[in-house]
């Protein structure tokens, strides 16, 4: 396919690394932006060394964790501490529309690539930083790894069973949802504004603030004096509401009963007329008051069902229901994801054919696509320096020999 992509002509000088930043530039790259990752050979992106690896064998070009968030991008290696490396970076920025980084505050300034420096030469640049706490405030230099943002941002403490310590989402959720996608939204809005006004923009995305925004209703509730607690799978309105065991090892069906019609349909499908006749379950308040008892009663019925069969039977009757899919389920056994061709297999030069997350939306006239697998470390150094920046082959060879590029 060679359809024009909607972000053709947009170039991103991408200094982001590890988790959230690369997932921000990925949708831009998959929709046509020329996203050039600026990497280091001596201090490689830590996520290039994070599992899973092709066949379990570690290597900087073997990580699926890295690959999945870096489709459709190019990679150059620069020694940013060398004056020539910095000069090349500024040249690249001058030919770019967007600069993105997720270093700790002050790092880009120390490298001579801070916003004020860049703006003097490239005033129309859109420059995004995504520090953990923000570039100001008493905690600006606090550091964190892993679940730090989910903990400090409130989501971890709210997610889990009321009778146990919190468990969160089991993933680094802020790195995969709010932080990168809020960042992509901000960059796109700034691009739109620049097309109308000619003005560049400086965007600061504090990962803490982005994460707190994702649980905004809990903050508004706290401000109104309500205390919000962990509530496992309970819902403020629906009951029964939860996951119920089905046939097999660790198989579950998620079910939500929001209305009396849902309740009637559920008891019909489960062939449990005795439940349907109980007056205390006849209305939402009654079912909510009896929800623990109902959970137990329902589990004794669902355990005889296959999760897919039960979900289909309930969905046919209008009840929200779905099997709890694990990675095997979403990759191999979900008819809907298969019908939508969600997963994409790209042939990576080192990893071979490997699975990438598809784009969760399709634009009917200007669809994006995963154009290429993740770049090998420094794969595009020569092309960017020579073809884009106009460096001579000889000059490139000299700099490569010195270890400044390549």
């Amino acid at each position: 396919m060679t359809t024009a992509l909607p972000l053709d002509g947009v170039r991103v000088a991408d200094f982001t690394w590890v988790g959230a930043g690369p997932f921000l530039t990925k949708p831009l790259a998959d929709h046509g932006a020329d996203v050039i990752k600026i990497e280091s050979r001596t201090r490689t992106d830590p996520i290039r060394w994070m599992a899973p690896f092709r066949d379990g064998e570690p290597g900087p070009d073997r990580s699926g964790y890295f690959a999945n968030r870096n489709s459709s991008k190019r990679s150059i290696c620069l020694d940013l501490k060398h004056p020539e490396g910095r000069r090349i970076a500024l040249e690249l920025i001058a030919r770019s529309d967007v600069v993105a980084n997720n270093y700790t505050p002050g790092t880009m300034d120390r490298l001579g690539l801070g916003y004020e420096t860049v703006r003097r030469r490239t005033p129309e640049i859109i420059y995004l930083e995504m520090p953990m706490q923000g570039v100001s405030g008493p905690h600006r230099d606090f550091r964190g790894y892993g679940l730090t943002i989910a903990a400090a941002g409130g989501l971890l403490g709210l997610s889990g069973y009321p009778d146990r310590p919190p468990v969160g989402t089991g993933t680094n959720y802020p790195d995969h949802v709010p932080n990168p996608l809020h960042g992509a939204i901000a960059v796109l809005a700034a691009l739109r504004n620049r097309r109308r006004t000619g003005r560049g923009e400086y965007i600061e995305l504090a990962q803490l603030e982005s994460t707190v925004n994702a649980i905004g209703p809990a903050l508004l509730a706290a401000a109104a004096g309500h205390s919000t607690e962990r509530m496992a799978n309970d819902d403020p309105i629906a009951a029964p509401h939860g996951v119920y065991p089905c046939v097999g090892d660790d198989e579950w069906c998620a079910i939500g009963v929001f209305t009396d019609q849902h309740w009637k349909a559920l008891t019909d499908v489960l062939e449990a007329p005795a439940l349907a006749r109980r007056p205390e379950y006849a209305n939402p308040d009654g079912r909510r008051n009896a929800r623990r008892e109902l959970d137990t009663l329902l589990a004794t019925e669902t355990v005889a069902w296959n999760a897919d069969t039960l979900a289909a039977a309930l969905a046919d009757r209008g009840v929200p229901a779905a099997p709890v899919r694990d990675a095997e389920g979403v990759l191999h056994h979900d008819p809907q994801l298969r019908a939508r061709d969600h997963w994409v297999r790209l042939d990576h030069p080192v990893m071979g054919p490997s699975v990438y997350d598809g784009i969760p939306y399709r634009l009917s006239e200007t669809p994006g696509r995963l154009r290429s697998p993740a770049p090998l470390l420094g794969a595009d150094s020569r092309a960017v320096c020579v073809d884009l920046l106009g460096m001579s082959d000889a000059a490139y060879e000299d700099l490569a020999h010195e270890g400044v590029v390549g």
Partner: protein, 393 residues
Amino acid sequence: MTDPNRCRGPLDDVRVVDLTTSLGAYTGRLLSDLGAEVIRVEPVTERPERHRPPLSQSGLSLNWAFMEAGKRIVSEADVDVASVIGTADLLLTSEGPAALSARGLHPGDTTQRNPALVHVSISPYGLTGPYADRPASDLTLLAAGGLLALAGDPDREPVRAWGDQTAVIAGTHAATAALIALLSLESTGRGQVVDLSAQEAVAHSLENAVQYLDLEGSVRRRAGAGPVEAGTGLFRCADGWVYLVGGLGGRPLAWPALVNWLLDQGIAEAETLLGPQWQERSWRRSSEASRIFRSIFERAARSGTKQELYEAGQSRGVSIAPVATPADLLASPQLTERGFFVPISVDGEQLLCPGPPYRFAGAPVGPRSGEPAVAAGAEPRRSGTPEHERTRA
């Protein structure tokens, strides 16, 4: 009244018609924060979203108040929906194809009638495929997309992330897609359909779980609050939990600083943590090492609050964070000094609301009004008449 000095957001002069359910409501909120005019058309029948607890003093859902802040609310009874759509750049819906067709809102029809319209269709499973019209909720979409299976303790059922996170997951992807389509619209004049599947958006947030299966043949299971590693995880303190990262991938992180911090608090047993085995991956990953570390660290932590431990640990270079509650966040010195929370009016009640996820140096961004005011009707496009009733927070 038009204010010539009005600061313009980056989406100034973009009109959005929002006909979403709770699944799609966050998308319009994000666009409104960025300066778009978002007209929320409510059905004539009462909407359950307005009454979903917790409630404001006046009985308005605080979830609804957050998602609708800054939008202009009109009733379907007071406007001709088709005409309002005809004035819009973007139309937002969040139901499946059959439900949309029943309302005359199938994207094929809306975009045929309005060639310069971008119809952003957020739906549980997308507009095509065998499940396209299946009923869904936040919980069932987390299940169908694979995120629910990763969350929870191994000996208990999989457990949901707090709040309607599918609205955030689908909403952030939808806003991204909407802006890509808007750029295309403004350069070509051509509208289109954006077909977003919330199930696929959830499946896009599984970290590395699908790649683990593809590359190493293993299926990731729920593992509580994280992998077992001495020095890393949740620890009890005087008023809750802190999250400490004293090691990652079997390697210690800022270990001397952590041990010295414990010794300085008079925890003599911390000496043992200086032994050579605490540098070894296999020992650090043993449950015995976790147990020993926990008993030593919690002895020190039990007299400190989350905030005290956070500031004391960080000042020594230790990666530690509070497991913050919403009330902790409202009192956070960092968020307070940065002026993150902004007052909004919810039915006349002044409440602090989280600010936007990002700050633009050159443009105003954030909740544009507090009170989602119910207005009589939509103004014709660019008529020079009211900037509408929204007041700046």
